[in-house]
Symmetry: C2
Subunit: 420 residues, 2 copies
């Protein structure tokens, strides 16, 4: 028997149905914020895919065997191909441009819990504005997507930071540029400074205990106390952006969904300002979503320098959280009607009824000339809500028998009324 | 500037919106016939992909560069992966199983009109019944999909044949088994026997003029005259299936959409009974859809022998036809409301209004602190239907100005009423 490739998933009707409901909710929310859906090809030139990280990306993605000269790979996110698409229409578009995608992408990984080789991701992208308002809209949308899926502030929290603040702080340590990346990496891998490991890792980089103390102190600061600190202009810019964002979130009733967290860094990637990640309150899973501002991305892909901001939610961790919180939808997949034939003599009439009912409803019909009992058994197994039993006797009076498949009750129904 | 890979498409909001409408119509129709949507991974093991055609398929598909031992390729249709999925649940499923997919697949080709390397395909599959009723349901669904997209019997016709009839006939020629495939191939590449080329190609295979005459005569036969012919049991089975199908199509009002055409063969692939293809009436494009019965497919993929039937519609030719017939939808992509601020002092109130309107509507809001005229210009450019103009004076009376973006008229609106 052939098997699916490891790290991929088959979606049978029920799984597909649940996912479709989740995705419909997401699409609905994102549209309400004025974003339009777009889609890009599954594969791109390797040049594009490696524009940011260089050749090292090759081992992390699926590349295609060359048949000619083309060096192609499967997309690993939507941010890169969407940036390419944006550069093509940048000049003729009114800003901001607000796009989203909800589609599949692929990464070469050894499959593990919460990480697959093929997964869906919602990617929200806004180009052409660097206002605090657009920071707010982005975070507010992320919150709304999760809220509209039935999650509350008891279930998740969005941890917010600003790269200007964090990088400005690390650089202000004057520890030498070769340490900056190392400190950044250590900070990025923690969410709290309470841990002894955090101090230990900082020491191992080569920092003395005074420097470690200083970092730990900064990492426990509250947003409202930041103002007391000495900050250079870059740090102050980051602080001002954060303050503005939190003030809007508070005014607009979203305070309970967010917290300032100076550890959030989003790795060594392309973020330039706001950064945020969403975690489940119980700390059971990986980040549910991540995003921020990347004002240099469009120019990296050959466009004119343009501010940009966005976030992404993968379907794998989202599903784990929704199932854990009992918010994963149970789809109803059966047809509304099953049309059963008492005898072959009424078969053509049964098909006529089925075709007419299909003007309004989803309808299955006996295809195998089975006995009535078997037809009812089948109708029940596929989850049909009603069965229309077509028999000669009733037809003479222009009637059929309608069976409620949940209650198991039957009553005669006028055919014209049924098809009205 | 980076370019998309040739043979692939970018879908910007309008293109995406049109396609979404077309796909929604298709999904809606297929569901009404009692089919459930499923999805399979983008890539499969090369073993599976080559199970039917063997190694020669390698040059026709996109294979992935090996990082370990896995030999993987991108799916080139949905019939193969869905058959794999079926074999896994075959024993526990009530038959018939009725599935469909509407998703992307990939073929390695030199791009040309109507053929791309990446395209969408609707694939409808029914497992577990070989009744004429199921032949009818499949053809009726194909017709309904196109009708529900706004096409009529003036626009398209479904040409129907039966492999048992055609293969039985060719074999009955007693021309030697080495000629059978050649004749089959020649027949498959024509749609009418009137052409001189048809005769010529048959002669070139090595048939004498009497044999050629005999084939040409058979290829012009009408369905109602077939009964007069001498047929072996396989041919007669094919004929009986065709007659049953056409009688149902006629009784149920679909006669105008179909015709018997003995040339339809669907290549050398896996069909065993009913075969059909849909063409535009004007003969401008490639086949719009194709399908038929393949009763040996499931066992080929390691399942228990089970009858199966289905068809597929690609989006590329379908789009060409719908555009040609002016049935390609023009989507409405702008938000229902744009919320504009007269001054920064009302900004927070504007966001509050936007967030509340989003309970029901899609809403964009000024993100760039631009002057009102520029905000209105932007609202117009994105296709907003209404603009809510939030100004200090009106807010004192709990009112806003509502601007109809189509007519350009404005009137005051009570805020509570707007948000009701």
């Amino acid at each position: 028997m052939y098997q699916k490739v490891k790290g991929t998933r088959d979606f049978y009707p029920e799984e597909f149905g649940s996912r479709w409901q989740v995705f419909s909710s997401i699409r609905n929310t994102v549209k309400k914020f004025g974003f339009s859906e777009i889609e890009s090809p599954a594969f791109e030139s390797f040049d594009l895919l490696s524009a940011k990280q260089g050749e090292e990306i090759r081992s992390q993605i699926f590349t295609l065997e060359k048949q000619g000269k083309e060096d192609l790979g499967l997309r690993f996110d939507l941010t890169v191909p969407f940036a390419r698409m944006f550069t093509s229409v940048q000049m003729s578009s009114k800003k901001p441009v607000k796009w989203y995608g909800l589609s599949r992408m692929w990464r070469y990984e050894q499959p593990q819990k919460g990480r697959l080789r093929e997964f869906y991701q919602l990617s929200v992208e806004m180009y052409g504005t660097n206002s605090i308002d657009s920071d707010f809209e982005t975070v507010a949308l992320a919150i709304s997507v999760l809220k509209d899926l039935g999650l509350t502030s008891d279930d998740f929290v969005i941890r917010i930071n600003n790269r200007k603040l964090l990088q400005g702080f690390i650089e202000s340590l004057k520890i030498g540029s070769k340490y900056v990346d190392s400190v950044f990496r250590v900070v990025d891998s923690y969410t709290k400074s309470s841990s002894e490991d955090f101090r230990k890792e900082l020491s191992e980089i080569g920092l003395d205990s005074k420097q470690v103390d200083y970092i730990v102190e900064f990492m426990t600061v509250k947003l409202e106390d930041l103002n007391e600190l000495e900050m250079d202009s870059v740090m102050r810019e980051g602080y001002t952006e954060l303050k503005g964002l939190f003030s809007m979130l508070e005014c607009l009733g979203m305070k309970d969904f967010v917290e300032f967290n100076p550890f959030i860094a989003r790795g060594l990637s392309y973020y330039t300002g706001l950064v945020f990640e969403c975690f489940d309150r119980q700390g059971k899973f990986r980040a549910i979503l991540g995003g921020g501002r990347y004002d240099n991305l469009v120019s990296l892909f050959g466009g004119q320098s343009t501010p940009a901001i966005g976030f992404a939610i993968g379907d794998v961790t989202l599903e784990l959280l929704l199932r854990d919180r009992e918010k994963w939808p149970k789809p109803s997949i059966g047809p509304e009607y099953f049309v059963a034939c008492v005898s072959d003599s009424v078969r053509m009439k049964a098909y006529e009824i089925a075709m007419k009912l299909r003007n309004k409803f989803s309808v299955d019909v006996d295809l195998s000339s089975r006995k009535l009992a078997k037809q009812l058994f089948y109708a029940n197994s596929i989850g049909a809500k009603w069965t229309v039993i077509v028999g000669e006797d009733e037809l003479k009076e222009n009637k059929v028998v309608l069976r409620d498949m949940v209650l198991g009750t039957e009553h005669q129904k006028d055919l014209d009324e049924l098809l009205d």
